[in-house]
Symmetry: C2
Subunit: 146 residues, 2 copies
Amino acid sequence: MKKSLQNKDHTKNIIQKAGFRATKPRLALLSLLQVAKYPLNIKEIMGKLETATADQVTVYRILDAFKKAGIVNQINFQDNATRYEYKDTEHDHHHIVCVTCKKVEDFIGCDYKKLAGEVLKQTPCFAEITDHSFEFFGKCKTCVSV
Amino acid sequence: MKKSLQNKDHTKNIIQKAGFRATKPRLALLSLLQVAKYPLNIKEIMGKLETATADQVTVYRILDAFKKAGIVNQINFQDNATRYEYKDTEHDHHHIVCVTCKKVEDFIGCDYKKLAGEVLKQTPCFAEITDHSFEFFGKCKTCVSV
DNA sequence: TTCATTGCAAAACGTTTGCATGTAT
DNA sequence: ATACATGCAAACGTTTTGCAATGAA
């Protein structure tokens, strides 16, 4: 079986296992997020999706549903546009963003689990932690000298 | 000298040391952020500011300038509204947010400096780190049982 | 006085809602 | 067949821009 077909089946499985119907917009959107090199905002998503694959409103609804289902992560680069990324549990990572040119690079090593335990002890109101966000902002080697 | 006057002078000093003129909107906004118990979004700010103290556009411009000057932090709770918090360098902290009722509690212990060094080694494109964001999302003791 | 700062009007985005139509299972 | 999903239109909330008027130093 060809690799691309395996991937298509895999994408379809993820959608169905999460309890959703495998529709054209959902398959296209999840496939797109799976190959994206960094978290995409709505404009980038609509630009990369083939015309008439999905309405923008549909994309918003799917992203919301996928986020609740734990299939995608919602990410914010402080640029007034929510970004979404496929949640690959095998390759947990976070991002560093250049504040000047917006270049993005991944990094690993965020040991949030240890801190999560300490935080629950510190915060008397809270019972459980379900998610976390963590990004670094800085300057890339090109922009730092400007 | 009364405490409230000391605070007023302190607020004025912060603004002027950052290179800004100590105008009514800027004094009111920074004072508000200094006493806020959690990061405020624009609606909350406009609601808490006395009427006619500052136009909403002015508030946006001041927040942007204060952020660039390092006086305030920009924070995102994944609720489509940018939040701002007075940056008190003496009391560095982050936030945990209840995904159900939006309650916020602070926590300390984010040792980002150690990770920042490792991240710069990992990411060949980046030269320096200037900022970071870190929030936990979870459920408070009231909402967890629902 | 002078230049930084503000207010107002209007536009530009990002996001959500309601409802009729379409479709995966 | 039918409950789930989508598309379209329109509303909504947040943020930005241009420009003339104002005010702090």
